[in-house]
């Protein structure tokens, strides 16, 4: 009887051995230098923490409860996404691989953070261009591209990058969809993301987000914004496959057409007080 128990353990630890031996040759070329606070990291990528399936389950449960109790805990939302999103990440990665531009994103591994963006150049671009609108979005909503948590619990280096890219593209998606960072805008973006990526965390956010909206906004969501977000999420090209860093000068309308996204049915303005 113990043999039956011991064998999967043996296989499990063997698999861990293989994974860990891969860790010895670091994939340093792909990641930006700002992640290298410690040159020696234990895991498949800087910030990676090994977790057993039990730990992942506990993390998913705990982070879900914590995120529901306090939606401002972005790190808990991030952990929930990482621990529940394995299958969705695989699907996303495969979609990226099948797209030529997505494939170049996967190999070149660009990162969107303040150190890699040239904000002054973006501010000087003409109105209506993607870069200028993104800059306007950052200013109007008082957000910065550096507020994204690092990926910790994804046990595959490539999938971890896909997750990281998804987080960093979130703000760009706001720009593409024309949604501000208030609650209604966030829920609309979540509906789009849930339809596009299939990540359970997005689906959870999409289902639970509307509970925090008042009646008039709920009506707006269910009548026009919601269906628009869902439809466009399903039919648009994979948003992670776009090499945004090379398209700052492109016009926003042009980019939307290329991605097969309709402009928003309702223009929402960024509210003065931040109500995420």
């Amino acid at each position: 009887m113990w043999l039956h128990v011991a064998k999967p353990f043996h296989r499990f630890s063997q698999r861990q051995c293989v994974l860990l031996s891969k860790a010895v040759c670091p994939h340093r070329l792909h990641l930006s230098t700002t992640q290298f606070t410690d040159a020696f990291y234990d895991g498949l990528y800087p910030g990676h923490i090994h977790t057993t399936p039990i730990q992942k389950a506990l993390l998913a449960l705990g982070s879900g409860v914590a995120a529901l109790q306090n939606p401002y805990r972005h790190d808990m939302v991030a952990v929930l996404g990482e621990t529940t999103g394995h299958l969705a990440l695989i699907k996303l990665r495969d979609r990226m691989r099948n797209d030529p531009e997505g494939y170049s994103v996967l190999t070149e591994r660009p990162r969107i953070r303040l150190s890699t963006l040239d904000l002054s150049k973006m501010a000087s671009l003409p109105d209506g261009s993607f870069g200028r609108e993104y800059f306007r979005f950052l200013e109007d909503n008082h957000v910065t591209p550096d507020s994204r948590a690092e990926v910790k619990f994804v046990d595959n280096e490539e999938l971890a990058y896909v997750m990281q890219r998804y987080r960093e593209v979130h703000d760009l998606l706001h720009t593409l969809l024309g949604m501000p960072t208030n609650m209604l805008g966030e829920v609309a973006v979540k509906w789009f993301e849930a339809a596009q990526t299939g990540l359970p965390m997005c689906a959870l956010g999409a289902v639970l987000g509307p509970f925090r909206l008042n009646a008039s906004r709920l009506q707006l969501l269910f009548t026009s914004l919601g269906p628009w977000a869902l439809q466009n999420g399903q039919r648009s090209r994979c948003i992670l496959s776009i090499f945004y860093e090379r398209r700052w000068e492109q016009s926003l309308e042009d980019l939307r057409q290329e991605l097969n996204i309709e402009p928003p049915p309702v223009i929402l303005s960024a509210t003065k007080k931040k109500s995420n």
């Binding site: 861990q16 057993t52 730990q55």
Partner: protein, 328 residues
């Protein structure tokens, strides 16, 4: 079992990675020492600096103190909540048992090293205060109808109580932990009889023969040189003074040990991530518990430092051990 396999493998990979790094730097590798499960001090030929354990990692001794400081700086705000969550509130029982074993009388001076958020010091003051109240009540009950002479005598003895005031000094190397403790004291309204001092357990900022009781609760395993901390304890205690140490130790029962290991390595870092947002600090915590010597070995270390009548009591099946010794 898978956990320990994985940890061994992780150590092997760390060892081989270090070989790669160190070989590239052209320095002879510190091989072999990483395999020792017990705390080892190994000497490197080239640099001449000693190394010690930080959890299951091996780090230079100079680095350990810095890293421990960082850990407690990060966890200070959520320290008490995490203690309750991780031990399911049992840590309060352990600390109460320490106080009961201590049985302090009015007028003693306590030094609580690595006292951080002040749990022991608060309990100490509360214990003495409730003892004094009980004595007063007993005295009052025995004197139901006092004469005027007795009442005036009582007034004069109340003044004499002042020099008998007990004092607790909380000493910690980490300012963040002391800040949290001071805040707690303010919230509880405790002002008299408590001081907060920043200090290193290996080099206490106190004169010799100052204190009646020295306690260190769940702090000594974080000290780089435990023997130095014990010698400092001996130095600052008055003759007849008592050394008391609460620390995580080796579980005696094998079934409980398995459960404890599984709980420690699976649950506690998860709790750390969910509640405090810090997985690595709590991973360090459970690893440092495994690296700390067992009950008998630690008893030997205390005796080596010069304490007499050293005893230990296992709490919760050996999860925690209370060591006690006297300076004679």
């Amino acid at each position: 079992m898978a956990a320990s396999m994985r940890l061994l493998v992780r150590r092997a990979i760390r060892l081989s990675h270090r070989h790669v790094k160190v070989a590239a730097a052209g320095v002879s590798a510190r091989s072999g020492c990483c395999w020792e499960p017990s705390s080892c001090r190994c000497y490197s030929d080239a640099a001449g600096d000693r190394s010690t354990h930080f959890g299951f990692e091996t780090v230079p001794e100079t680095e350990k103190a810095k890293r421990v400081y960082k850990v407690f700086e990060n966890v200070a705000q959520k320290y008490d909540i995490m203690n309750d969550a991780m031990s399911l509130g049992i840590h309060r029982v352990w600390k109460d048992m320490l106080l009961h074993a201590m049985h302090p009388q009015a007028g003693v001076r306590l030094l609580d090293v690595a006292g951080g958020t002040g749990d022991i010091a608060f309990r100490f003051l509360e214990y003495i205060r409730s003892q004094q109240e009980r004595q007063k009540r007993r005295a009052a009950r025995s004197m139901k109808t006092p004469s005027w002479q007795d009442i005036s005598n009582n007034y004069s003895t109340e003044d004499e109580d002042r020099p008998q005031e007990s004092r607790a000094v909380v000493c910690d190397i980490n300012k963040e932990m002391l800040k949290v403790g001071k805040q707690k004291a303010e919230n509880m309204g405790i002002r008299a009889g408590l001081s907060w001092v920043v200090g290193d357990a290996e080099e206490l900022p106190f004169d010799d023969d100052q204190f009646d009781i020295y306690t260190i609760a769940f702090g000594i395993r974080n000290v780089t040189h435990i023997d130095q901390a014990l010698q400092e304890a001996l130095r600052v205690l008055k003759p007849g003074g008592r050394f008391m140490c609460l620390e995580f130790s080796k579980v005696t029962n094998p079934v409980l040990a398995r459960l404890y290991d599984a709980y420690s390595f699976q649950m506690i870092p998860v709790l750390g991530e969910v509640i405090a947002g810090d997985w690595k600090s709590y991973q360090y915590l459970v690893e440092s518990i495994r690296k700390f010597p067992g009950q008998e070995e630690f008893k030997g270390m205390i005796e080596d430092a010069g304490f007499y009548c050293v005893r230990y009591y296992n709490l919760t099946g050996g999860v925690v051990a209370l060591h006690s010794g006297f300076k004679l």
